[in-house]
């Protein structure tokens, strides 16, 4: 029986690690479909940002109350996973509370700390569920969350509540069995834990065998639940818990007002202006598409952004277009980019390579109207706690519309004409540019 449990455990662990690894490799492949820029080494500056923005969650503290609640879940979730190490080893070796004898009193202290964190996580998850489903927090009401995204967010919170409850239930049953002198449990006496012992009155009436069954079931469900969650995570918005780190590393906050230069066009303009500099002979390089029509045309950083998004909606709350009822929502831009990238990924999985599916990010996922509503004010970039830049995707797609399709609102076409011919966006004579100097002030 014992050996069978060990075998089952190793099997379950192996399968979940394999599945997780496969999914992460798939995501990596998808991100690498993007243009080769944006993911360059940032050196110590990158590590500093990772420490401040990802680990330190600095941007979250723009709203301190929510930041603290989120921090409780985060710290709870990450630290309690230290306990998973023991569970893993116990499962593989067929032991029970392997670390208890080694750590002595410290062990009880540590588990007590975990239990308080678990209680905190449960409490905050309940508050967050209420924020999403009871109170009217505007950024959770957006229609861009209708359907799966809203379910996804709820699943995560419920899963965390279940996992933490199982952890507490497991400890409660275990310590109760220790008190009853049940062999196998008395071998590693830990004494009661502070939070789980509160559950004892509920379990007091259970028989020994019932408690053992409960303890084993909770132990198994807890670890299987963690494995299940591990594999749910990369398919959900919860992936931000991992990708916030590389995304903060690669972010360039110093470039907030800077648009990516298009060196190809810079060169072409230079050769047009100074033909003597143009290289002789035919250019062998195939010109790539100007701007972005599909995910392949976006930078790898933008694609990493898409997978890092946790759909919190701070970007859209800050967006002047979203706030005034325009169709544009920066959150939806990120979600649409990820949806398209996933669509492309599935197609590659199926066909072995990308074959034109008659669909593109532009129009099938993001409309012209959305792209045209952006004021490039950078509020979305400023608000994002995980260093995402929705504005980069919008601007690249505008480049495609204008340069590949000559597709612009009439007023913009007129503005371009004015800039080109009159050197100002309005139809004034360039001769009058200094006219103001001749008028009295």
């Amino acid at each position: 029986m014992e050996l069978l449990q060990q075998f089952a455990f190793v099997l379950v662990t192996g399968i979940s690690v394999w599945l997780f690894n496969r999914r992460i490799r798939g995501i990596r492949r998808n991100i690498l479909l993007g243009r080769d820029h944006g993911l360059t080494s940032r050196g110590s500056e990158g590590w500093k940002q990772m420490l401040l923005l990802a680990l330190g969650q600095r941007k979250m503290f723009r709203n301190p109350l929510v930041a603290i609640l989120h921090l409780i879940i985060y710290v709870g979730f990450v630290i309690i996973n230290i306990e998973v190490l023991e569970i893993l080893l116990d499962g593989i070796l067929g032991t029970h509370r392997l670390f208890a004898p080694v750590m002595g009193v410290a062990y009880t202290g540590l588990i007590n700390a975990f239990e308080w964190l678990a209680a905190g996580v449960i409490l905050v998850c309940v508050i967050f569920l209420a924020r999403r489903h009871v109170t009217n927090v505007k950024r959770f009401q957006g229609s861009d969350l209708d359907g799966w995204p809203r379910t996804d967010a709820r699943n995560i919170l419920v899963a965390e509540i279940i996992l933490m409850t199982l952890f507490l239930l497991m400890n409660a049953a275990d310590t109760l069995l220790q008190g009853r002198g049940q062999p196998g449990y008395t071998a590693h006496p830990t004494g009661n834990f502070m939070v789980s012992s509160m559950l004892h009155p509920l379990l007091q009436i259970w028989s020994d065998s019932g408690l053992i069954a409960l303890e084993r079931t909770a132990w198994w469900l807890h670890i299987v639940g963690i494995f299940a969650f591990l594999n749910y995570l990369p398919w959900s918005k919860h992936l931000h818990i991992i990708l916030a780190f590389p995304n903060a590393y690669y972010a360039k906050p110093e470039d907030n007002g800077r648009m990516e230069n298009m060196a190809d066009i810079q060169r072409e303009v230079l050769y047009a202006m100074q033909p003597e500099l143009a290289p002789t002979g035919s250019d062998t390089g195939t010109p790539k598409r100007f701007g972005a029509k599909d995910v392949f045309d976006l930078s790898r950083k933008s694609l990493l952004d898409a997978y890092s998004c946790t759909e919190c909606g701070r970007c859209s709350s800050g967006c002047p277009a979203s706030q005034t009822g325009k169709k544009l929502s920066p959150r939806r831009i990120m979600m649409a980019t990820r949806d398209r990238l996933e669509e492309v990924g599935r197609l590659i999985d199926r066909e072995g390579e990308f074959k034109d599916d008659g669909r593109t990010l532009l129009r099938d996922h993001i409309s012209e109207e959305e792209l045209r509503a952006c004021t490039t004010c950078n509020a979305c970039v400023e608000e994002c706690p995980v260093s995402i830049r929705p504005v980069d995707i919008i601007l690249e797609m505008r480049r495609y519309l204008v340069m590949e399709e000559s597709n612009a609102p009439t007023e913009w076409t007129m503005m371009f004409g004015n800039v080109e011919n009159n050197f100002a966006p309005w139809k004034f004579s360039p001769e009058d540019r200094d006219q103001w100097t001749k008028e009295s002030s």
């Binding site: 503005m415 080109e420 050197f423 100002a424 966006p425 200094d434 002030s441």
Partner: protein, 258 residues
């Protein structure tokens, strides 16, 4: 007012301390011209050797680039850089945050590297250095003024305090809007929006922002961008507040207080 033109200075073999980049709004828009004149008058009174490019100045290409027209932007940038480099310009000051941002961040990789400052910082430095002496009571003492953050000055360049310090130097009572500094709500003009009709929505961005400004009860809405100025002035007109609320550039406020 005699505004020095760069080509004339160069002909005399003179170099200015700073080139005043006027920008298209500042050159052609009647409302923005007043800002330009106010800033030029400050430059003149402080005795700073400055010059403008005059007819040689071209659009930086910012609205074209942000609308998606990289070709046009590159063409404008190429020509401007030729002119600026030709005169050996070192330092540029401008009253337009869009010109400021693009000259500062996007011209260097095209070969145009200058020390670019926005007039908000420039004015603050002049006040700090005592080169601008404000009147004891320039008429703004204790007056409620609210400052509207320009996106390209604030979020894009982290300049939040300089314009506020200028306003504080006027002894005005600075009051903040519901969303300010890094959370400041856009006026609605950026990214080429100035030149097209807004997309469909339930209100206009400039009205949303104007309402925030009106809610402060300030009689003066200070701006540091000609486009923001236009958008909020329009908002004030729509809300029929012209008689009680004025939208002024920080340069105009300073010019009135010297």
């Amino acid at each position: 007012m005699q505004v020095p033109i760069m080509s004339e200075l160069a002909a005399r073999g003179e170099t200015p301390e700073v080139l005043f980049w006027v920008g298209c709004a500042g050159s052609f828009d009647q409302r923005a011209q007043r800002i330009t004149k106010a800033f030029a008058s400050i430059l003149e009174r402080t005795g700073i050797r400055y010059a403008i490019l005059g007819k040689e100045e071209l659009c930086t290409g910012d609205p074209a680039r942000r609308a998606g027209n990289e070709f046009l932007f590159q063409m404008m940038a190429y020509q401007n850089i030729q002119i600026l480099n030709g005169y050996g310009i070192q330092k540029v000051v401008t009253a337009c945050p869009h010109c400021f941002n693009i000259l500062k961040h996007e011209y260097p990789e095209l070969g145009g590297t200058y020390d670019v400052v926005h007039h908000a910082e420039f004015l603050q430095t002049l006040i700090d250095d005592g080169r601008i002496v404000l009147k004891e009571d320039g008429g703004f003492r204790g007056k409620k003024i609210t400052y509207h953050d320009s996106c390209y000055l604030g979020r894009a360049n982290g300049i939040y305090e300089a314009p506020r310090k200028v306003l504080q130097a006027l002894d005005a009572e600075l009051t903040e809007m519901k969303s300010c500094r890094s959370r400041g709500l856009c006026c609605g003009a950026g990214g080429g929006q100035m030149f097209k009709e807004e997309e469909a929505g339930n209100t206009r961005v400039n009205l949303a922002r104007t309402d925030e400004a009106i809610a402060t009860g300030a009689k003066i809405i200070a701006a540091a961008c000609p486009f923001c100025n236009t958008m909020i002035t329009d908002g004030i007109k729509v809300r029929e507040r012209e008689s009680e609320t004025e939208v002024l550039d920080i340069a105009e406020l300073v010019a009135r207080s010297i």
